[in-house]
């Protein structure tokens, strides 16, 4: 009962924030709103017991994305350009994609179903072995950090490389601009 009401309130706030993002024209405000949007979806993940997913969402969505978007605004303009075409075709595309996604969820097992494939494959074995093997309370952490440690290491390397690439691109752009200004002066 409490879960349902909480989910309904959070989803309502999420939809309202999304509508506000669409309607807003000042891009600074859009960046703030998208940070709140990602905090709200993180809260929804927490109510679904996926605290690790929620934390990633908050760190990436509300933390890094905000900084990156502000950096982008510093390089471009802070006001949205008026669209010259109507939004009819994009609206149809979004509608069809949403319908396909909803259709896809119809085959999924119910939330918390003990007979779902995810619960009967290797899950019970991890749950049984983690207290003896690794001894941390969160089994997801044990799987990510130990059983699939090399996989996590690879992911971290990919993210690190992407971050360095973005930093190199941005600093190169600024230096080129300063060179141009010096040339003009």
């Amino acid at each position: 009962m409490i879960d349902t009401v909480t989910n309904i309130i959070l989803l309502t706030m999420l939809v309202l924030t999304a509508l506000a993002i669409v309607r807003m024209e000042r891009l600074f405000a859009v960046v703030m709103l998208s940070g709140v949007f990602s905090l709200l979806s993180a809260l929804l993940f927490v109510t679904l017991d996926a605290v690790d997913v929620a934390f990633t969402e908050a760190a990436v969505g509300a933390g890094i994305s905000t900084v990156l978007l502000l950096g982008t605004i510093a390089l471009t303009k802070p006001v949205e350009r008026r669209a010259r075409h109507t939004a009819f075709i994009p609206f149809i595309v979004v509608l069809v994609t949403g319908a396909a996604l909803v259709y896809g969820t119809l085959d999924m097992p119910a939330f918390g179903d003990p007979n779902a494939p995810a619960q009967i494959h290797v899950g019970p074995e991890y749950l049984a072995r983690t207290p003896d093997d690794i001894d941390v309370p969160n089994v997801v952490t044990a799987i990510l950090g130990s059983y699939r440690g090399y996989d996590t290491l690879g992911e971290t390397a990919v993210v690190f490389t992407a971050g360095i690439g973005v930093l190199l691109l941005l600093s190169g752009l600024r230096r080129r601009r300063e060179d141009e200004e010096e040339d003009q002066a």
Partner: protein, 102 residues
């Protein structure tokens, strides 16, 4: 210490948090200045931390409390980054830029 408190205390706290969240969101949607929005984003982050804590106690598993602390850290760093951007119009290389202005 908090585990022994009755259920309705946390329920009341949750309802109050939702009301506070809605008030903050109204300020966020309406503005009018940019600083209202920065402040409301920051305080929404604080509400996120509190919500995770209260929900943990309400469902009888306060293990998520340390995760809520990490949210507070992210919120702090994010607010610092936003304010630094408003002050200097750039995220990195601030010292270099100020020296160049002189």
């Amino acid at each position: 210490m908090f585990e022994s408190m009755p259920h309705y205390v946390f329920l009341t706290a949750l309802i109050c948090l939702f009301i506070a969240m809605i008030l903050v969101l109204i300020r966020l949607y309406n503005g009018p200045t940019l600083y209202d929005r920065v402040l409301s984003t920051n305080s929404f982050g604080t509400h996120t931390v509190l919500f995770i804590g209260v929900l943990g106690f309400l469902t009888g598993r306060p293990d998520f409390l340390d995760i809520a602390l990490l949210y507070a850290l992210i919120n702090f760093v994010g607010t610092i980054a936003i304010l630094k951007f408003f002050r200097y119009r750039a995220i990195g290389d601030v010292l270099e830029k100020r020296e160049a202005d002189k």
